[in-house]
């Protein structure tokens, strides 16, 4: 008689990386990674960081509200947006600025959003992309519905959505994985594992070895990628997009990175995490890493860097200008979009509100 129990299913998580922590190549470059593309990705990451610095500054000087910095996660976000086709749909979380810019979403719209203005989500480009999602993990389900619409209409499009490590604790995250697996949906799930959910470290968030393995609960592949290696993220994204586009279903990508900034401008991370940890994380950050590689390859130098920074500053300055010139919103704006047609009660309330418009005290 047998005395052991047969294994009926097994699973593994692989870790994907091309650039080592010092910008050295540890695997042969993937095909997409031509010098042009790498330079482009580099520039886009620097642009995101320039934007980010400015956004924090706008908040500090009272010109914008609370803002969540993307510092440290530029590679994930840029690679994600860059790998997508125009006709795909992005369903972002609130720290996906890089992907949004790749999609054509205007910087000034992101400023508007965090400046407390709904019009910031009325994107002029990427009009099917979802706005920033505040209620954690809900966006993962929207992505499944969008993917289902693509599948129903037999369109070769993919829904791409992102979340933080903390968000992977929520029911909606898992319900989305399960549905995507059950329906074999064209969706790519990205997890920005930046090690922290506000003050809660990854180790308290979940007892799993990896976040990637949560994909097995949905019945499809999950993998880990070095989220500070833009080449690796870009590659696993393309692979996952292709899988999805060809009808082979979803993938979960855990991009391992680090939140180098505070959670938001309303947070002070020094309350809960050590300087040492932060310093160590800076050693691995994505922009420096790619710069080292490019320089070593003779694809980058100080002059180009200087020009790039000036360029980025100019682009961001223009966006700030556009943001600051946003026409004032009015009472109609807050009443007219609850329903397509103003209801009777809202007509009455709007007329009443207009009576008091001039007198308002708060704000």
């Amino acid at each position: 008689m047998e005395t052991t129990f047969p294994v009926v299913a097994n699973f593994e998580v692989t870790y994907h990386q091309y650039l080592g922590e010092n910008g050295e190549l540890i695997r042969p470059l993937p095909a997409f990674a031509t010098p042009d593309v790498l330079q482009f990705l580099y520039k886009e990451m620097v642009l995101v960081r320039t934007f980010d610095t400015k956004a924090i500054n706008l908040q500090r000087t009272g010109k914008m509200g609370t803002y969540p910095s993307i510092l440290g996660q530029e590679a994930i976000s840029v690679a994600m947006g860059n790998a997508m086709q125009k006709e795909d749909v992005l369903i972002p979380y609130y720290r996906d600025q890089g992907a949004q810019f790749q999609r054509g979403t205007a910087m000034e719209d992101i400023f508007r959003y965090w400046g407390g203005d709904e019009r910031g989500s009325n994107f002029r480009h990427s009009r099917e992309d979802f706005p920033i999602c505040v209620p954690i993990a809900t966006q993962y389900l929207h992505a499944t519905g969008i993917a289902k619409a693509f599948q129903y209409r037999k369109q070769p499009r993919v829904a791409v959505t992102a979340i933080g490590d903390g968000g992977t604790s929520k029911g909606d995250f898992y319900e989305a994985l399960n549905l995507a697996g059950a329906w074999n949906l064209p969706v790519v799930f990205v997890v920005n594992n930046n090690q922290w959910a506000i003050s809660v470290p990854r180790s308290i968030q979940t007892g799993t070895q990896t976040i990637a393995q949560k994909a097995f609960a949905g019945g499809f592949p999950g993998l880990q990628v070095d989220g500070n290696d833009v080449i690796a993220v870009r590659q696993v994204m393309s692979d996952a997009l292709e899988r999805a586009r060809n009808g082979h279903g979803p993938t979960l990508i855990e991009a391992v990175s680090y939140r180098l900034g505070d959670h938001t401008t309303a947070d002070d991370a020094s309350r809960y995490r050590s300087k040492e940890e932060l310093h160590a994380a800076w050693e691995k950050e994505p922009i420096l890493r790619l710069r080292k590689y490019l320089i070593a390859q003779g694809l980058w130098d100080d002059q180009r860097e200087e020009r790039l920074l000036a360029d980025c500053q100019a682009q961001v300055a223009q966006a700030v200008e556009a943001y600051e010139q946003t026409p004032k919103a009015n009472i109609d704006d807050i009443f007219d979009y609850t329903y397509e047609t103003l209801t009777e009660p809202l007509k009455e309330q709007k007329a009443y509100a207009k009576r008091f418009k001039e007198k308002a005290h708060h704000g």
Partner: protein, 326 residues
């Protein structure tokens, strides 16, 4: 033309709209082969196939969240929640997203979905199968909340709900799913959302109700008629946004009003109706608006649910209280 029940009218409306608009899809638990636990989607899988009639995994937040995603792509998902008592896990998706998508994006993305669910008590069902949460949805800006009371209204209002460009919560009083039959032409004619229906004319007192309770309300009106008390009966139908004008016009005539609903009393829809009648019609009121409602307790299990539901006796008692005022 054959007479059909309320639930058959729902099936008829779903099939009609699926025929004329290929963006209409239905999804939910057990709605495919099984045709729904109440058979609202009976035959749809056969007619429209599994790509449009989707049996989902068992997860209500997922049903709502996926429907929101579909709706953003121009589909018109009609999501069935097996009982409205199981819609609570979906409230985050519904409140935080379905109700807000248009406003959040200033009209760029919208959410033309319908959330259907059997609703209300009196069917001797286990706990959680007899809830009346219309007040919750009515309080959340962005929804329309609709409750039909007859086969014809179920048909016309469901067509309107599906065609509406915004999310509609469509609650189906399961107690009257098969109570009465009516001829309901399958002509695709929608009824207006946002309008009350005057179900019966009268001049002594206005009775306001919706859904299954309208039946006890009508019975009460019949009994009162024998006492020579002529009640006007209003079927609210769209609970939110509320058509207060129709109610006010009636109260202007009768001077007295009784609102009847199954849901708990505290901060229920009856309170809103009473408050608005006072605000806008106090000079026509001869007595305070009376509320005949469920109690502020969890809907009792079947053995005791009859003690909870508004009855003709309670309605008539309230009418007399109103009539005897001063």
């Amino acid at each position: 033309m054959a007479e059909i029940t309320l639930i058959e009218a729902i099936t008829q409306a779903l099939a009609y709209e699926m025929r004329v608009d290929e963006n209409v899809v239905v999804l939910g638990e057990d709605i495919g082969t099984n045709g729904g636990v109440f058979r609202a989607t009976l035959g749809l899988l056969q007619q429209f196939g599994p790509e449009r009639v989707m049996d989902t995994p068992l997860a209500e937040s997922m049903i709502a969240g996926a429907a929101i995603g579909m709706a953003s792509q121009g589909l018109k998902p009609v999501a069935e929640f097996q009982f409205v008592g199981f819609i609570y896990p979906a409230l985050d998706q519904l409140f935080s997203h379905a109700a807000r998508m248009r406003n959040r994006t200033r009209g760029r993305l919208t959410c033309p979905m319908v959330a259907r669910a059997p609703y209300g008590g009196g069917i001797h069902a286990p706990e959680h199968h007899s809830e009346s949460p219309e007040a919750l949805f009515s309080h959340i800006p962005g929804f329309k909340v609709v409750i039909p009371s007859s086969p014809a209204r179920a048909y016309g209002l469901l067509l309107a709900a599906i065609r509406d460009p915004d999310p509609v919560i469509y609650l189906e009083p399961s107690r009257i799913y098969r109570l009465v039959k009516q001829e309901v032409p399958d002509d695709g004619h929608a009824l207006p959302l946002g309008k009350c229906f005057v179900s019966r004319e009268g001049h002594d007192v206005t009775l306001v109700s919706w859904g299954a309770s309208l039946h006890e309300t009508n019975k009460a009106a019949n009994m009162l008629a024998k006492e020579n008390i002529h009640a006007e009966v209003i079927d609210v139908a769209t609970i939110s946004p509320l058509d207060i004008d129709t109610i006010l016009a009636s109260v202007a005539k009768t001077g007295r009003c009784v609102v009847v609903h199954e849901a708990a009393r505290n901060v229920g829809v009856g309170a809103e109706i009473a408050a608005q009648i006072m605000e806008k019609g106090i000079l026509t009121l001869l007595a305070p608006v009376q509320r005949v409602t469920g109690y502020d307790i969890t809907m009792p299990y079947p053995k005791m649910e009859h003690l909870y539901l508004p009855t003709e006796e309670r309605i008539i008692d309230a009418v007399y209280t109103a009539l005897e005022y001063k």
